[in-house]
């Protein structure tokens, strides 16, 4: 099929380096991958095109790039699916990392963050001479997160990294979970305490971009949520994020419906009076814009609240052991 690859190019060796788009028209099979197309461009049309690839089978993690606006592995993306809306495929380097040349990005910030979470087992007991065996059940649970191929695709599309390069990011947090949930690792509290700091697990905005784009089904955000739940369970020093989750849950349990002002007051409490005072202008504006119901800003509990309270009691983690989902 006739396909156009519209590629964002960048050559640092130009006199005044600036990114530009270049289009290549070529014949491709529907079953070809975008990577096949790019290689064909390089081999038949323009040998100056720079890209990174190796395995061509979604294993090595080197061909991450943005295809039609979303990060993906070029070798795993078929031409047929990339041309669903138009015969032109937009190909750009990954986001949230510096571009070296054309489609090649500098992965060093990525590796720095992976290193930051100390991606090695830290047992407190002496390391056994033979294999360090873990229960099969635990390893089954970890198999999903262990399939990460470090491609950087989730990092490319992370909404928080876009505005704050200090955020540790989805890949490193998923990797942190891999060690926190490993029964052979004894540094859980230390790891969670480090992740409890600003820029750590509470800074994720739960946008699900990483879950959607990850080519290996690692589900980084789900791992971040598990880290948060573990942090709350471990009773780490509370953060605005953990208090927010606790207070939110408590309000739903007692009323069935959320009281926003109550959530704010109880989340910030007297620990952060400055933030609480910072909210007064919003409260005044809300009042001015008649956003507040005549009955006042707080709700009465919804009908049926007794049943909800009972379900909370029965279903909550402390009182019910579900199988590990």
């Amino acid at each position: 099929m006739n396909t156009t690859l519209r590629i964002r190019r960048f050559n640092p060796e130009q006199k005044t380096p600036a990114p530009f788009f270049q289009e290549y028209n070529l014949e491709l099979e529907a079953s070809d991958s975008v990577l096949d197309g790019l290689i064909k461009v390089r081999e038949t049309l323009d040998d100056s095109l720079a890209l990174r690839c190796s395995c061509r089978g979604a294993i090595c993690g080197s061909c991450g790039m943005r295809i039609n606006g979303h990060a993906a592995l070029a070798c795993k993306t078929k031409i047929i699916s990339a041309t669903k809306d138009s015969q032109t495929i937009h190909v750009e380097p990954m986001n949230n990392m510096p571009v070296i040349k054309d489609l090649i990005t500098d992965m060093s910030p990525f590796w720095e963050k992976i290193r930051q979470i100390q991606p090695w087992l830290q047992p407190s007991t002496p390391i056994p001479e033979a294999e360090h065996v873990a229960p099969a059940e635990a390893m089954n649970h970890l198999s999903g997160v262990m399939t990460c191929i470090m491609c950087g695709v989730c990092v490319s599309d992370c909404t928080v990294l876009e505005v704050d390069s200090k955020f540790v990011g989805p890949a490193a947090l998923a990797k942190a979970y891999r060690f926190v949930a490993d029964p052979r690792d004894d540094a859980t509290t230390r790891r969670l305490t480090a992740l409890n700091e600003p820029g750590g697990m509470w800074d994720c905005t739960r946008c699900m971009e990483c879950i959607q784009v990850c080519p290996k089904g690692v589900g980084p955000m789900d791992r971040i949520m598990s880290l948060r739940a573990k942090g709350i369970d471990e009773q780490l020093p509370s953060t605005t994020g953990s208090r927010h989750a606790e207070v939110f849950t408590d309000i739903i349990k007692n009323k069935g419906i959320l009281d926003e002002p109550m959530l704010a007051v109880r989340t910030f409490g007297f620990r952060n009076v400055r933030r609480l005072i910072g909210m007064i202008p919003i409260a005044i504006q809300s009042f001015r814009h008649k956003k507040i119901a005549p009955s006042g800003p707080l709700h009465r509990a919804i009908p049926g609240i007794d049943q909800i309270k009972r379900l909370f009691k029965r279903a909550s983690v402390e009182n019910h052991t579900f199988r590990n989902k």
Binding site: F167, C207, M208, T249, G256, F268, K291, L311
Partner: protein, 296 residues
């Protein structure tokens, strides 16, 4: 067509104009609503941070109540929709898990059979009401108005739970409705990104940075207004816009409309009855632009 209506906490709390405007427009498009007054909050993904399975139990209760009413559920919030879609997806694709949830519900005499259809108002507009009926309800096409869509993460991802494969109109539902209403779609990169609301209390700087990025970007693409099917996005994009602008040393001034507010405008309804006075960023400029177009 009748629905079990799940208004969500925000339309009952900080965004009363959303509830108000949906109440104005729904009778005009041939649907009927029965409000679910005893259903609890979905947990909004926040309760799920603490205890994800508890969230599923609470949502299963809501689905079971709708099954008893024999009605599909209608939501008016991207977050309510996404959280419910994900919960329903987990339960309907894993019989063993559903059985576990039902064991807990059973003690309250409840059971969820896995049959409840849960949809956002915007999907219902396209899938049930249909373009023809919608067009007939439009008495004042929004010709000349340039509207930027803003979905809210939960109405865009993960695509499997939202059943995008089975419903090809869903990924671009907002663009489709804007076009039907006669306005012009302003496409911009931020439309399916995050508004920043979930981290407003945690990292305000980053959160406001997201507000500024998307609203300023939509404006630079020529948008007169932004429209959203998510009241949480609205809280940040509208409510925090002035502060986000201050952070960038600029005034952004982009009116943010709830989807039913835009619908109501196209039905020639009185802006006050749609709760426009409750929006923080005044939509006055929008109304004026429309008035000029109409009179010219």
């Amino acid at each position: 067509m009748k629905y079990a209506f799940f208004p969500g906490c925000v339309s009952k709390g900080a965004c009363p104009e959303l509830y108000q405007s949906v109440m104005q427009v729904y009778p005009k498009i041939g649907i009927d609503l029965e409000e679910m007054t005893t259903a609890a909050c979905t947990g909004a993904g926040v309760l799920q941070e603490k205890d994800p399975r508890l969230g599923d139990v609470i949502n299963a209760r809501t689905f079971a109540l709708a099954e008893q009413q024999n009605l599909p559920i209608m939501t008016i919030c991207s977050t309510c929709q996404g959280v419910m879609s994900q919960a329903n997806h987990r339960m309907t694709t894993d019989g063993e898990y559903l059985a576990e949830i039902n064991q807990i519900l059973g003690e309250e005499g409840l059971a969820y059979r896995g049959t409840t259809n849960i949809r956002h108002f915007i999907w219902i507009l396209l899938e049930d009401v249909g373009e023809d009926v919608l067009r007939r309800a439009i008495t004042q096409p929004l010709t000349g108005l340039r509207a930027a869509p803003f979905y809210g993460c939960y109405l865009q991802r993960p695509t499997e739970a939202l059943q995008f494969d089975q419903h090809p109109d869903r990924p671009k539902a907002l663009e489709r409705v804007i076009e039907i209403l006669g306005a012009e779609v302003v496409d911009f990169p931020g439309k399916s990104r995050c508004c920043g609301f979930p981290i407003l209390t945690i990292n305000e700087k980053n959160s406001l940075n997201m507000v500024a990025t998307h609203t300023m970007n939509a404006k630079s693409h020529g948008a007169d207004i932004m429209v959203t099917p998510c009241p949480l996005c609205h809280l940040n994009l509208d409510g925090m816009q002035a502060k986000a602008g201050n952070q960038q040393n600029t005034a952004i001034d982009l009116p943010i409309l709830h989807l039913p507010q835009l619908l109501g405008l196209a039905m020639d309804m009185d802006p006050k009855s749609l709760g426009f006075n409750r929006n923080f960023v005044s939509p006055h400029s929008t109304l004026q632009k429309l008035a000029t177009v109409v009179s010219s």
